[in-house]
Symmetry: C2
Subunit: 331 residues, 2 copies
């Protein structure tokens, strides 16, 4: 395949991790970078620590789209489809394929059916592909689960659990899960939507159901609940005394034929001693899988995004989800 010319939109921690990986891969060339506020005017190669490249960071992605006409946009600005919809539409209309870490884009048909339909039509019209992915949603709680069901003649129910020690994660992540707040502050910020918890459990359930041909009648997604530190715990950013919030847990349940058949449990807190990704498939035969320690999220998200590029380019144009891609792998 010919070299792909890549534009990076969104230069937060994830966007930079993706761009660093792109800089190491043959077949990909970064031709543009854009962020509303960060690194504007700087040489993007220097931002990445790979030496001057002549690619200047611009705050105006629309202008860059016109100037560089990228084959592919790697996009990492927000978790919510409504926030990124216009950006993705702009990319598609500029003739660029798009892979975004926007969590809601990983399976937008359920929460945002009309936006999803529009994006799909538009992508087909402009003959490009649009995909939302990352490690979660996009991999650990959906794609990997799906592949494991392939050994089953029957599947009765699926339980997936991701438990991560937030101590190793960046400060923004720890803030997002409410680390070091009091329980009252946590509830206040949650009500005010200042902290969100993990976005993507509903998308993962919907993707699993769709791929397996299960009609998921209802998804119950609990509000994130605080996990309270039972003793003092600390991370590079916070010291959390006993009784304060160490992180959060949230559960989502998918109902098929009136029964809870897909259950996803996410826990992220500072000081988690036992970190793992676990999948239980009750079926014939059963599958009980553990990945331990849990997969490092930021590095894995960048890997999943970049490793999805070539399989996505083989897909027909349109809005795609992870179930449409050839079996992903490192390449």
């Amino acid at each position: 395949m010919k070299e792909l010319r890549v534009l990076h939109i969104g230069l937060g921690a994830i966007g930079l991790e993706v761009a660093k990986l792109v800089s190491k891969k043959s077949g990909l060339r970064t031709v543009g970078a854009s962020d509303l506020v960060k690194y504007v005017g700087e040489d993007f190669g220097e931002v990445l620590g790979v030496g001057k490249t002549g690619v200047k960071v611009s705050s105006d992605y629309r202008r860059v789209l016109k100037e560089v006409k990228p084959d592919l946009v790697l996009h990492a600005t927000s978790s919510y489809l409504q926030d990124v919809y216009e950006q993705i539409v702009d990319c598609v209309k500029a003739g660029a394929n798009v892979i975004s870490t926007c969590e809601e884009l990983s399976y937008p048909y359920r929460k945002h059916p009309s936006l999803a339909k529009n994006l799909d039509h538009l992508a087909k019209e402009y003959r490009v592909r649009v995909l939302g992915t990352g490690v979660n949603p996009g991999f650990l709680m959906d794609t990997l689960v799906l592949l494991l069901t392939a050994v089953c003649q029957e599947v009765y129910s699926i339980v997936v659990e991701r438990v991560i020690d937030a101590s190793h994660r960046r400060e923004a992540f720890q803030r997002k899960i409410g680390a070091a707040l009091t329980e009252a502050e946590f509830k206040g910020k949650m009500a005010a939507k200042e902290i969100s918890g993990h976005v993507g459990l509903e998308e993962s359930i919907a993707l699993i159901g769709d791929a397996m041909g299960w009609v998921v009648e209802r998804i119950e997604a609990e509000q994130p609940e605080p996990i309270i530190a039972s003793k003092e715990v600390s991370s590079p950013y916070y010291t959390i005394s006993a009784g304060r919030v160490a992180g959060l847990q949230q559960t989502a349940r998918g109902f098929v034929d009136g029964k809870e058949r897909i259950t996803l449990v996410f826990k992220a807190y500072v000081g988690a001693e036992d970190e793992y990704d676990r999948i239980h498939i009750l079926g014939n035969p059963e599958v009980h899988q553990t990945i331990k320690p849990a997969i490092q999220g930021d590095r894995a998200t960048a890997a999943v995004v970049v490793n999805s590029i070539w399989p996505l380019m083989k897909c027909r144009p349109g809005l795609r989800t992870m179930k449409d891609l050839q079996t992903l792998s490192f390449r």
Copy 2:
């Protein structure tokens, strides 16, 4: 998609398990069954225990191919490509897609490049797809490994281990791994090719390398070694006294850039107390995965074969391998 008309060739334990599963699936209809010796003349529905279907088992698959003109042949006769090549050619020339549990067909390009090339050409000419798959090779030591590498920015090396307690497996499997023989008998039968051990490790290594873009210069596949019972162990078929063969182990190693980078270890013996499937990926980030207990092989092979049908039918015609299919799942 329209209903697929299925012909089963090879009615051993695996062929029957596949056919039983097909009988439960919508979108698939069994229109023929053939075995050289087993169940010839019987009603195949009665053989499967699903009631009379009017499909008579024939010893002449060529005649059945002509009579029923199946869309798809599910084939389970031998582990070796040279043994099944003519059968598959016959199916392809009859216009049928083929999924076979022939282990060597799971990735035939390395051991049998000219047979593979011929099959690919022929399948394209007749506009059908040919795939070799099963739980191993086909899933546990290749497809699943590949998917797990997708979270990695770098992969340095891969170690996969499958340890199974042969007590639960059928008698033919236990015989194949030398259960209850003396060590001398084991070595004699191995030299005489009366027992084979597991076929597929080389194919799995080659498939992994191909999908990841690694040039595997050399694959070292050790001869199977007996595992000696340290105390009396038993299965429904054998009682094995201490000092006799309980089963076997074998290792295959793939070398890339002069280094051992893919290592597959297979152990199957009566009385294994710790049964698991394990994958270690040394990379960035690392992945350490355990499935425990190990996946039940026969049931899973039937599942992988049947769950591969729809993804395979979406592929372009030709000889395909598991890396070409959309992410597999139960359906």
